[in-house]
Amino acid sequence: MTQATSPKGGPNKTGPDKTGSAKAGRKSKSRRPKLEGAQLRIGKQRVPLFSGAMHYWRVPRHSWRAGLKEIRELGLPIVETYIPWSVHETSPGVFDFGQRSPRKDVAAFLDLAADVGLFVFARPGPHINAEMTYFGIPERIVYDPDCQARSPRQNPVVLGFPPRMFPVPSHASATYQQEVRQWYDAVAPIVTPRVWPKGPIVLMQVDNEACHFFRNGPYDQDYHPDAVRQYQRFLRTRHRDLERLSEIYPDRYGSWADVQPPPRFEARRASDLPPHLDWAQFQEHMTTRAVRDLRKEMEGSGMTGTPLLHNVPLGDAGLPVSVPALDRAVDLVGFDYYHPAREHRTIKRRTLYLAGTVETVYAPELGIGAPPWFTPLSHADSLYCAMAALAFGMRGFNLYMAVDRDRWYGAPINNSGRPRAHAIAWKRLIAALRDTRFETLHRRAEVALVFPRPYARLARATHLLGPVSPSSLEAFGRSPVDACREDSFEFDGPVQVRWWDMLATFADALTRASIPYVYVDSEARASRFEGYRVVVAPTYEFVSAKLWDRLQKLSQSGTHVVHGPCVPHLDESMQVTEFDSLDRAHHVHDVHSPEAVDALVSTWVSELNLLSPFRARPSVVETAIHSDKRGPAVLFAMNPGQKYVEASIELPEPMHLYDPMSDHVFTGEREAVIPLAPRTVRMLRCEARGKRPRKRPSSRRRQREGAARNEPADAEENTSS
């Protein structure tokens, strides 16, 4: 095996410190980078989680410095890059890290990043996607039958992504894991010496979008023998007693090894459901376990010492992925965002889910542009998506891609390292976020909607389109329950569909009432349920005992718990269970009627005095307020509609609203009128009246940026009362 070392033999420690970031921190006391809320503590510095992606092997070597400098010019302190296995492995076990191809000199790239003053977020895979053929995994691996995931008939599981369909690997395969170990061992000598404080690497990611490689229909995979053994161990841990399993399952078993995963959906009654619900839960478990195992492998090879991240792709509500479980397996889990503005609701739902379920809302891939085979995204779409996600609580992001590359369009910096025209908008946005210290603000929500994971599992199990999975439907703008069978399984109706309907009905009602809310996954840490005044939980005939217990505690502690439409009498294994009644909770039958839910929400407003800050008219406009200790700091006003509107926004006190993207200032006593072009978001800095508007950018900067946009540098002031 070729020794994996840098041609330079180690990290670059030379170069002037012009920036005061990467190198300034390195001079300080040596400490491991650590996440503190939405900030990264590096030595004595606190750095926001703002980064931009650049793929060194896809950019001409002579453009590396220019590209990195432009990332810094955008205002980003961190550059992110994958380290692709298939690019560096030239033949089995032989690696080129720049010895032959200069573009593959990842060590030089990392050192150059440090030299330019950037920290690095490194993602060594093994799976990277990145629109690469075979997703960055060597061809020999994907065509090794021992490494391949298996279908119920033991066939390979083929993914249809361009430019080649290929059989996807099995995360459970011991052979695949062994191969990954060798890759990590090869790349670790490049990465490890460059981990902070010796080098610029301050974040790492394990694997990428672990979700069974997008072939995640409920009965698509994985029936690999190693996966089946994992399944049997999972059942053993979950049910403990084979006798009990035989009572719950339709069949009787002599040993755990006799229990085989269901190859298709066959349930007709509630009592037939447990094997399918277990299988759906196992698929989540398998994903988490794969990430956890790969983390151990990374650490075993020496790639440690930074927070470890993982990203979840589009279609999260239909994925075999448990975000709470992943959140326990890595230090930070986030969602990827590639949405056109018309998917405002999806952007909102996904962001509010993260806001409720994990501590920090982070986007490991916040799309600027897209691959050519995705739904086309304009610059305005990308900007809308980013700003709407920020509005609903995103605190950190990785702009993907910051520098253009093969199989991509729309990055703000081109392949030669020159900024494109629209880079200025991103620059202004990032400057505004840094000026407001946006990562330290918070968006207050008093209502939590519980995302009921067991019902989501039933939805996955009853999905009828196989490989066109629930998450694919969701990723293409539909809901993950759209293709569920309609059977009621002796329940009052199709639970697998109704839970989604109920959440949508409440979300719509809360939006109409301008009441901020979040979604909390039913399996999130207990602390994630605290601090809300109202918690709404869908409960049908069966419920997770753990959730019921949680609701009980919440109601006893004074939280206004609302559940319905049923009082459950079955546990997750469809065993009759006598649940203690939730004495102080409110059982609501009619949870699917918009009128009834509107009425319910209005009682919360009148009786519980729920906050509905900065209400806006017309109703198409949504607002979101982010505060610091002193009060409202940043207001977002969103117009997801297709028509220009002049939004009237109620103000709690006389204030100036400064738009740092356009330099407009709006002033109002009790109301401000904000013009909003179709499908745009304004980020407005709030300043109480009587004080000067926020510190403006330097006149030189404004002139420079104004000239670039052909606009006057002076701010325009609009006053309304």
């Binding site: 053929t133 279908s151 066939n155 390979p156 083929v158 249809g160 361009p162 430019p163 080649r164 369909m165 698509d220 298709r264 349930a267 007709r268 509630a270 056109p340 018309r342 739902r349 542009g369 050519p372 739904t375 086309p376 995204l377 304009s378 610059h379 779409d381 990308s382 253009d404 590359r405 093969d406 199989r407 369009y409 729309g410 081109n414 392949n415 030669s416 494109r420 009828l464 389109l465 196989g466 490989p467 439907l473 539909r478 809901s479 329950v481 759209d482 293709a483 069978r485 309609e486 059977d487 009621s488 399984f489 002796e490 329940f491 569909v497 959440l503 009905t505 719509d508 997801p640 297709q642």
Partner: protein, 402 residues
């Protein structure tokens, strides 16, 4: 057809969007649709007939043909579909959790020939008639309807995975998938309406390759560059090498290769063509125009318009590969036919020229020169017949003659 090492680069969001808006407007417009009214939109059949039919209605049925669920790809889930269209045949297996299925209405489908639960996978039991599917499309305002027997999508992927061969390119892989799809269609696992492509013979990889040889020979490039007020509005250079398309370059790269352009696209096209030849491969076919011309041509496919645009250099095809010349020649012939019909008091010469156009089409692979084949240059002939008025609009020189 598509290389595993395909390079696609040099587009920003605007230039890529511009390219799609011309050649794949449906895809480009997907993001411009209104957002859904709720987080869980469902199809309301009472929305009124004025709503346009679009998207696909997907219905999943069980082995006996009884619907299990349906969704509209643009409008959402169709709640209660199974109940509304459930079969009432005595052989239908009992429904799951029958509490919600007690009051079934008659099915849209005719009684199944064999609707037993253990029906063989390839039988045609429980098929909808084309009329049923058309009715469903009308009712749910869908442009097409696809009916999948439960498990059909899984079956498709199982069969495909067995037949994929390592090293096959993407086109060959899709042909394999198309063949499997056709098998499932013939076996009754899938029904589609309207069935426009079901009779089309599936080409082999070799046939496909031969056709591509004609369109873009190996080692050559094709270019399209559209200008707006003298600036590149969008452009793409496509290269074929070792039998595969391996490089798609966008306007950023092309501008990098050309350096600054003069601002007159009728001159600049040669610079673009030469630059692509230097940086990518010798150019086999190139199309250059102002974007407004191309928009108008795509909007109004009148006979002869393309040929007229070429004749008056509103569209430059350079070099002109034989197939493009033939297409333009045929278009010119149609245009001449229509123009002379007016002059000759309604006598349509186009019909008389049909044998010539058939002959030309039949010899497409042998044609080196349209002029040589036809014995006259159709574009010159057209140019002598048509001209442009001061507003740049086409007119027939002879149209107003008494």
């Amino acid at each position: 057809m598509i290389s595993g090492d395909l390079r696609f680069e040099g587009f920003d969001a605007a230039s890529w969007g511009n390219l799609l808006s011309l050649f794949s407007p449906g895809m480009a417009n997907r993001g411009r649709r209104d957002m859904d009214a709720t987080d869980f939109p469902s199809v309301n059949t009472d929305d009124g007939a004025e709503a346009k039919s679009s998207g696909t209605l997907v219905v999943v049925v069980d082995a006996s043909g009884s619907p299990l669920a349906a969704l509209h790809t643009e409008r959402g889930r169709i709640s209660g579909f199974a109940d509304r269209h459930a079969a009432s045949t005595p052989n239908t297996p009992p429904s799951n959790g029958s509490s919600g299925r007690s009051s079934r209405k008659p099915s849209l489908r005719p009684p199944a020939a064999d609707s037993s639960a253990d029906a063989r996978p390839d039988d045609r039991a429980g098929q909808f008639s084309p009329g049923d599917l058309a009715d469903l499309c009308r009712r749910y305002r869908a442009g097409r309807c696809i009916v999948l027997r439960e498990g059909a999508a899984e079956e498709l992927m199982e069969r495909v995975s067995l037949r994929l061969v390592r090293g096959e390119d993407y086109a060959a892989q899709w042909l394999t998938m198309w063949r499997v799809y056709r098998e499932l269609l013939q076996g009754g696992h899938i029904q589609i309406w309207p069935s426009t492509l079901t009779a089309l013979p599936i080409p082999t990889s070799a046939t496909l390759e031969r056709s591509l040889d004609l369109i873009l020979p190996d080692g050559r490039a094709a270019v399209v560059a559209l200008f707006d007020r003298g600036r590149l509005w969008t452009a793409a250079a496509l290269r074929r090498r070792h039998g595969h398309f391996d490089f798609v370059a966008g306007p950023d790269l092309i501008a990098h290769w050309t350096g600054p352009l003069g601002g007159d696209w009728r001159r600049d096209y040669r610079i673009v063509s030469d630059a692509v030849a230097r940086a990518v491969a010798p150019v086999h076919a190139g199309v250059y125009s102002d974007v407004s011309t191309v928009r108008a041509l795509l909007r109004e496919p009148d006979p002869g318009r393309w040929a007229r645009a070429v004749a008056v250099r509103d569209l430059i095809v350079h070099p002109t590969p034989p197939y493009a010349a033939v297409a333009l020649g045929a278009d010119a012939v149609r245009g001449v036919g229509q123009a002379t019909a007016r002059v000759l008091g309604g006598v349509n010469l186009l019909a008389a020229l049909n044998p010539v156009t058939h002959y030309v089409r039949g010899r497409i692979s042998e044609i080196a020169s349209v002029t040589e084949t036809l014995g006259f240059n159709p574009l010159s002939a057209l140019a002598s017949v048509v001209g442009k008025d001061s507003d740049g609009e086409f007119f027939d020189k002879d149209a107003d003659r008494p």
